[in-house]
Symmetry: C2
Subunit: 548 residues, 2 copies
């Protein structure tokens, strides 16, 4: 009995985590996190609910990592620290270096095992795994061919089809095709770009765009990009060298990733190319390239500092700033505000909306997804890595590629898809969901608390306290009110509301005053009622009883 | 002395409001509002700071409305009710009907004066105004040619260039060209789409797309669109009639706007075309078209109800749902989630990302903006209606159209641009800004309060109370703590923190206990310190002192 059980990533971008189970053994592909959107105040990260793995820890024989992005390995430390048994973690060299950094940050030990593409290795006794090289926006990314006694699966990981990638390492379509010829029970393929009908371009497009923009630039150049996109860093460094510009790195992750890539041999550039960031103000403007983080408008990242002028380095007239990314959905307003700020400082700003070549995606689009489907000709297909509409769209592509409805399985997080006698079907479900966490504080935040927080922020609150004498049950103090986050009008009303509440509260029969819960309930009621006399808004009431 | 003083809309999308002043008289073009984005919890609307108008109310001779959208007339009731003198408001028939609705909602009286395009009228003694027809997404939209003793200005309003609009009424380029021939001191032109290089398409594209989609549809059809886009409603109704589908309207604004348009003669359709929404479930699916609101993902609007299945009407397999709009920046995630939900219900969903023809914009794009610049050949140009990058981009277009740098004036809200002897320059500034409001409660929310609310939502809070005896200054109760919006770990910690705080608080010297402010300060300090012993998170503390 072969099963596929997605724990995350099928219904959202991020949180990627998927179980393959066979005859009492499991392996996990990726353990990704997700960053919060609006409506999740105070949440730093979201991780998948790993209950199913914790309850079946003895069956879990290994974790396979596809690549070094947080949405694929960021939840690894949390998973490993919650499991009672040590589990081997398999990944390529660069991917493991990224994983090690995350693990070290949280002080979690792990059994990391380096793998090479095209070199099969066993996981447990049921799985024979082979990594296949894919092109993505981080070095050393792979997909997996998983062979089991019940058949072979292909998981593409995040991939794009770039005929001429910067590092020369193309997505290994050859091996996927060969596995397809042998017969693939199920293909699990990246859906991120399934809404896009235009072929995802080559990174060479970005290289050429930079070449053109840089040649015209007479002042400083600042490029903001994801620091893990070391292919892009690579051609930017080469271009800087060619044009005689020194490179300054800004942002902790930029410094760390470039250093890591140089150590591992992914970047071959001389030390003399780099200058410290604090020397930039004294160097001739036309001799400097700054690589920085924060192209998604992150408030504390490098580019925001440059735009706000808070740091030692500022941008101004004559400077060229390039945002080498596309806003992730939800970030549009923040990125827009950042671009505005850079404009008002007088800089020339190149960004995807007006200069499309400053960024290409790391994910295959519709026609390329179709090519993979046609190449592998799997018996079944499960679209992975996407929100609902991306998965649905990818499924439509599979239909166009000739798959029958029964071959296309639209799974969601927590579904169990079982394959028996060559037929796949939904056979049940496991616990799944999203756990909201403080990254370092480690605190868990329930969804009830999130609702409470959102409500707090929308209405503000009134803390209300009464003091009751223990023996006599006499009201000796309050109701006294204190407001937070109230509108000007509500704040002005507060003394009148307090007086009203006092009158109302005194009517509460003395007997009932013995019960804290009853008193709190009544206190809430009278404060609300007093508010309603004056305004239609209803702040949250936090009732307190002190007995003296 | 001629002046242009933008109060809103130059630095944001929305809030459009601009003063033209001449020799001691002023007129205002539009009084728009803006809807809040993230980071403004509990705010319903934002209006411009009208201080400058209030302080100079006697000089204000009239308000001109370009069209019926909220971002152009939604702040009118607030402005009029704050002015001590009655001011005439000029607009076309449909625009005044929209304005009257807003005014009635808030119980504000106004002196509304209907105008016709190409029929000049005086405002005060300094202004001779002529409305010129523009094509936009609402009927009866205009721009203004304002003639003064110091020269002529053209304000385009929101406009697009559609060679074949649904109502046959094209943007009156002829009059703008004639005014240009006479000489225009300053052109103020819509910048919304200045990032787009492709020509904004004709509404006929949408008409053809619907025709194609509808012909293939075998079940119910639901189209979500802005209810004020009555051009689109018009061709949808015609198509429904042709295809033998009855039309049900969902959403209060949809019902109201369609009724208003029928009364004013903008929609000529028989009563028999319509059916009440509650009859839809009993009608044959292929005989129904539902027009609804909420294409921007608004949580309580029609489309969300259909998607969640909360209402009497649900969508399901076989139904076609069309989102006839593009997400406004900031709404992408909400719209995406809505599309996902519709997919999971089994409906076929057509939306701009995969079916671009379901929507065209109501604003001219770069080449069309350029055409207007070349036609008018103004002495000066001020880009209006846009965030910073839109204004900057529009300025770049003006340079390409042949204007010299000194002719291009990049103004922001609050700037005074003066024109003297044919030269325009920045001469000062007036009070400007954004006022955050509850729509009906009417309460004003300060930006400090907004920061407090955001902070509340990110950390949660701990209300802390102590009871002190008046005479002896003895601590007779507390510190007692109550948490709201805390993480699970913090909630668990609360009793320990309270105990710690008690120990710490008792050290506060008795003399200091006489001062409420000091006690509150100390209480906050000890609660924070106690928290820090256990966690790195710092909830907001609301300190209270009760004296008995």
């Amino acid at each position: 009995m072969l099963q596929v059980i997605p724990l995350g990533g099928l219904g959202e971008i991020g949180l990627n985590s998927l179980v393959i189970a066979c005859n009492g053994e499991m392996l996990l592909i990726d353990a990704g996190l997700m960053f919060p959107s609006d409506g999740m105040p105070g949440v730093d990260i979201i991780i998948p609910d790993f209950t199913h793995l914790k309850q079946n820890a003895a069956q879990l024989k290994g974790v396979l990592l596809t690549h070094g992005h947080e949405d694929h390995l960021g939840a690894l430390p949390y998973l490993l620290s919650e499991l009672s048994v040590p589990i081997p973690v398999y990944g390529t060299r660069f991917t493991l270096a990224m994983a090690r950094h995350r693990l070290d940050e949280l002080g979690v030990e792990a059994d990391l095992r380096e793998i090479e593409p095209r070199e099969p290795f066993p996981v447990g006794s049921m799985f024979k795994v082979e990594a296949s090289r894919v092109t993505h926006t981080v070095p050393d990314a792979v997909g997996f061919i998983v062979r089991t006694p019940e058949g072979t699966l292909i998981h593409t990981g995040d991939f794009k089809l770039d005929p001429d990638p910067i590092d020369g390492l193309r997505t290994d379509l050859e091996r996927w095709g060969e596995a397809g010829d042998e017969g693939v029970v199920c293909l699990l393929s990246d859906s991120t770009n399934s809404e896009l009908t235009e072929e995802t371009g080559s990174e060479r497009v970005v290289e050429q765009t930079f070449e053109r923009l840089f040649r015209d630039a007479t002042g400083r150049i600042v490029v903001a990009l994801f620091s893990s996109n070391l292919h892009r860093v690579r051609h930017l460094l080469a271009l800087a060298e060619r044009l005689g510009r020194k490179v300054a790195l800004q942002g902790r992750s930029m410094l760390r990733n470039v250093e890591m890539a140089r150590q591992l041999g992914y970047l071959d550039v001389p030390d003399s190319l780099f200058v410290p960031l604090d020397t930039v103000p004294i160097l001739p403007a036309q001799r400097v390239l700054v690589l920085t983080t924060g192209a998604q408008g992150e408030p504390r990242a490098g580019l925001s500092q440059l735009a706000s002028g808070d740091g030692p380095l500022k941008v101004g007239p004559g400077d060229l700033v390039v945002l080498s990314s596309r806003p992730i959905p939800g970030n549009e307003r923040g990125v827009g505000a950042l671009i505005d700020q850079l404009h008002w400082r007088g800089a020339r700003v190149a960004y995807a909306q007006i200069e499309p070549g400053v960024h290409v995606s790391g994910h295959a689009s519709r026609p390329q997804q179709k090519r993979v489907l046609e190449l592998v000709r799997p018996r079944h297909f499960i679209p992975v890595h996407g929100e609902g509409r991306h998965l649905h769209r990818h499924l439509a592509t599979a239909r166009e590629a000739g798959l029958e409805p029964a071959q296309c399985l639209l799974a969601q997080d927590g579904d169990i898809v079982g394959f028996e006698e060559g037929r796949g079907r939904f056979t049940g479900s496991v616990t799944s969901g999203r756990i909201f966490k403080d990254r370092f504080g480690g605190g868990m935040v329930t969804s009830d608390t999130l609702h409470e927080r959102v409500r707090l922020s929308e209405t503000g609150l009134v803390a209300a306290v009464v003091v009751i004498q223990r023996d006599t049950l006499k009201l000796v103090g309050g109701p006294q009110l204190s407001g937070q986050g109230l509108s000007v009008d509500e704040q002005v009303l507060l003394p009148r509301v307090a007086q009203e509440a006092r009158t109302l509260f005194e009517e509460l029969s003395v007997q009932l005053r013995g019960d804290d819960a009853l008193v709190r309930e009544e206190l809430t009621r009278v404060v609300r009622r007093a508010f309603r006399l004056y305004t239609s808004k209803r702040p949250l009431v936090v009732p307190m009883v002190v007995r003296v």
